[in-house]
């Protein structure tokens, strides 16, 4: 028997879901925003992010004392999966909402929380993520960006790459080496860096679709005050692991091509068995992703489960593209006025990056296997 509290929580979640769905539909229609595949990477609107914040749908788990609505991680899950399924323009506040807010709640000082969280909850404070470097991609522990003690603060030297929308963001959460260490995972720390500071240079990386999502961000002796260190000096690795679990397990790891799949089923009545097998995979991945979200909500760091979600989810996204090509073949065309041809084009052109971003699937499988086998 379902207990009353569960039933009440479920009814509230359904009500929230319906409100978000109606809002996204209305807002996107009135602003002429199209649904996009990979919208959390590619599609953005400051107005949309702000409108979400105004409704309490950005930085949702941030408590009231820091200007947030203090909702549960599962309520946040409902909201973001609705937005992703709608292909809504959420990229601007995405990273602040997904991982920086939670990182500040876990590790931030009261002053840091007061400084950043209200803006994140308003959907107005954008963060870029500074993990990968030109010489350190999948091998994250090889970061060479250094922060050295300098008077009462720090001096940051190095470069970060593949930073989504750093050119539009206000701040970056940077992983840097602060202390020499035998163990490569020790001696790392995280910094909250204002991207308008002197010595910060942001250079675009144009991707194969001709657009600018990514940037290289160079820190040339950037002076940081003491309040920029997030959490504990030397604990950067474990802090980042918690962040990566958030980054890898969310619904954006299996819903990137959902706008295409939705459009496909609107356009065709064909319901072949292969579609059913794919839908079973979707339902299973969603159940896994939700259970990881619950674990994260309890304060756990389910690194392995998150890696599994990302591996299965991103491969599922690719299968959607192939099924669409098979069921309703059209020439993919980014400039097409036909929504399906455009969504197919978007899905195709982003095919290579889904299994790369957030840690290549092969590296993630290595983590899964070594954890299981203790090797």
């Amino acid at each position: 028997m379902i207990d009353v509290r569960t039933a009440v929580r479920r009814a509230a979640a359904e009500e929230l879901r319906a409100r978000v769905r109606a809002f996204a539909e209305r807002e996107m229609a009135s602003s002429g925003a199209d649904a996009h595949c990979d919208a959390w990477m590619t599609s953005y609107s400051a107005e949309f992010s702000r409108a979400l914040g105004a409704r309490g749908w950005a930085g949702m788990t941030i408590p009231a004392e820091y200007g947030g609505p203090g909702r549960t991680s599962m309520e946040r899950y409902v909201v973001i999966e609705e937005l992703l399924a709608a292909g809504a323009p959420v990229a601007l506040h995405w990273f602040a909402d997904r991982q920086v807010g939670p990182a500040l709640l876990r590790h931030g000082s009261p002053a840091q929380r007061r400084r950043y969280l209200p803006g994140i909850a308003r959907g107005e404070c954008y963060f870029a993520i500074g993990m990968s470097e030109p010489d350190s991609g999948s091998d994250l522990a090889a970061v060479r960006t250094r922060a050295r003690r300098d008077g009462g603060g720090w001096r940051l030297e190095g470069a970060k790459t593949w930073s989504s929308h750093a050119h539009l963001a206000h701040h970056m959460l940077v992983l840097a080496r602060t202390d020499p260490a035998e163990d490569r995972r020790a001696g790392l720390s995280q910094f909250l860096v204002d991207l308008r500071l002197d010595g910060v240079q942001i250079r675009p990386i144009t991707t194969q679709d001709g657009r600018r999502h990514f940037n290289e961000v160079v820190f040339d002796g950037v002076r940081l005050d003491d309040g920029c260190l997030l959490g504990t000096r030397g604990q950067g690795w474990s802090q980042v692991m918690a962040e990566l679990a958030l980054e890898r397990s969310g619904p954006e790891r299996f819903l990137s091509t959902m706008p295409l799949l939705r459009c496909l089923l609107r356009r065709t009545e064909a319901r072949p068995k292969e579609l059913g097998v794919l839908l079973a995979e979707l339902r299973s991945i969603r159940a896994m992703s939700q259970s990881v979200a619950e674990a994260l909500g309890r304060g756990e760091t389910p690194t392995v489960a998150a890696a599994v979600v990302k591996d299965l989810g991103t491969r599922f996204e690719g299968k959607v593209v192939e099924l669409a090509r098979d069921l309703l073949p059209v020439v993919p065309d980014l400039a097409s006025g036909d929504e399906y041809a455009r969504l197919l084009a978007e899905a195709v052109v982003h095919s290579p990056d889904r299994t790369l971003r957030g840690g290549t699937n092969e590296i993630l499988r290595g983590i899964v296997a070594r954890t299981a086998a203790g090797a």
Partner: protein, 335 residues
């Protein structure tokens, strides 16, 4: 709870050690083990007031994880459910459901035929799903002596039989309000999903252990990246199967809730698909050792590969799941 159940089942099954001679299944020992589980009341876990569905699934999983053929999952999840659907208690030691479809005439005689009925050779009572003269779904009991049974074995050595009944004398048990055949298919698919998950978890454990301990080229297999990729893919498949079964069971108390439900289709499709991949990967990781008669691995993988086809394979349920999705996919998924 499921941990305690697994421990209790394992303690009983330890008394009937299989495979001691040449790695083959001893049917007499299998019957004795089933009797011991019955005497321990483990076959009544799914009866109303005695337990719930989650417990019954846990028992089925624990017996399956042991790796040897057993009718216990079918008795718990299929037989007990069919009897419960018509409101009749179990009266025999090993009643096996014959999905039919059968026809019951006005004089109480039934005609039915079904192929590959799992555990039919062990039945002391056949429970036949049939339509009565008025077209209502009915469950009748038939003495196996009244039936023509052509016995055989599944790929993993579990007994089945083709069953034919020609105007056989039948005892009327009850009439169901719902489609009884569909209900049996659902119960069977749930049983095989839960069993497949149990086998998959065992396959995962055996594979992890093997790559940890087996040394080749001077290193444990787990140190090779190619091996790690396979192992992680295997772990991913098992995790997906776990999620699929968990979302199907959820807070379901009665298998009836799962009839025609996308959650059930999802569980059977995903566990069957995982079986294909996991069996392939596990054998690849084990090398030839896994197909040696004395090794445990193939007992699980052959069972997994067999169960894919029982009570509807991925394509059968895939067709149904796809057909249930309307033009608004997202509403369907979140509804």
């Amino acid at each position: 709870m499921s941990g305690e159940i697994a421990d209790a089942i394992a303690a009983i099954l330890r008394n009937f050690p299989q495979g001691s001679a040449d790695g083959s299944w001893d049917e007499t020992l299998g019957r004795a083990a089933t009797d011991a589980l019955r005497d321990g009341d483990w076959l009544d876990v799914s009866l109303p007031d005695l337990g719930d569905l989650a417990d019954a699934v846990a028992v089925a999983a624990a017996v399956t994880a042991h790796g040897w053929p057993s009718p216990v999952p079918d008795l718990l999840l299929i037989t007990n459910s069919a009897l419960a659907a018509v409101g009749v208690p179990r009266s025999h030691r090993c009643p096996i459901v014959v999905p039919g479809p059968g026809r019951l005439d006005g004089t109480g005689r039934v005609t039915a035929a079904a192929e590959h009925v799992a555990w039919a050779p062990w039945a002391d009572q056949l429970l036949v799903v049939a339509q009565d003269p008025r077209g209502r779904p009915t469950l009748v009991a038939v003495d196996p002596g009244q039936a023509e049974l052509r016995p055989g074995h599944t790929l993993h050595g579990s007994p089945w039989a083709h069953v034919r009944l020609e105007n056989a004398a039948a005892e009327y048990l009850g009439t169901a309000t719902d489609d009884l055949a569909e209900f049996v298919t659902t119960a069977g698919a749930l049983a095989r999903s839960a069993q497949s998950l149990a086998a998959l978890e065992r396959v995962r454990a055996l594979s992890v252990e093997h790559v940890r301990t087996r040394v080749q080229f001077g290193r444990p297999l787990a140190a090779f990246q190619a091996v790690q990729q396979h192992l992680a893919a295997l772990i991913g498949e098992v995790a997906a199967a776990e999620a699929a079964v968990a979302q199907a069971l959820g807070d379901v108390r009665d298998i009836r809730e799962l009839v025609g439900d996308p959650r059930l289709s999802t569980a059977k499709i995903r566990t069957s698909a995982a079986a294909t991949e996991a069996a392939r990967l596990a054998h690849q990781l084990h090398g030839a050792i896994g197909i040696a008669r004395e090794h445990e691995l193939h007992r699980h993988t052959l069972a997994l590969l067999t169960w894919r086809e029982e009570f509807g394979n991925e394509r059968f349920w895939g067709g149904r799941l796809a057909a249930s999705a309307g033009p608004d996919l997202w509403a369907w998924l979140t509804g």
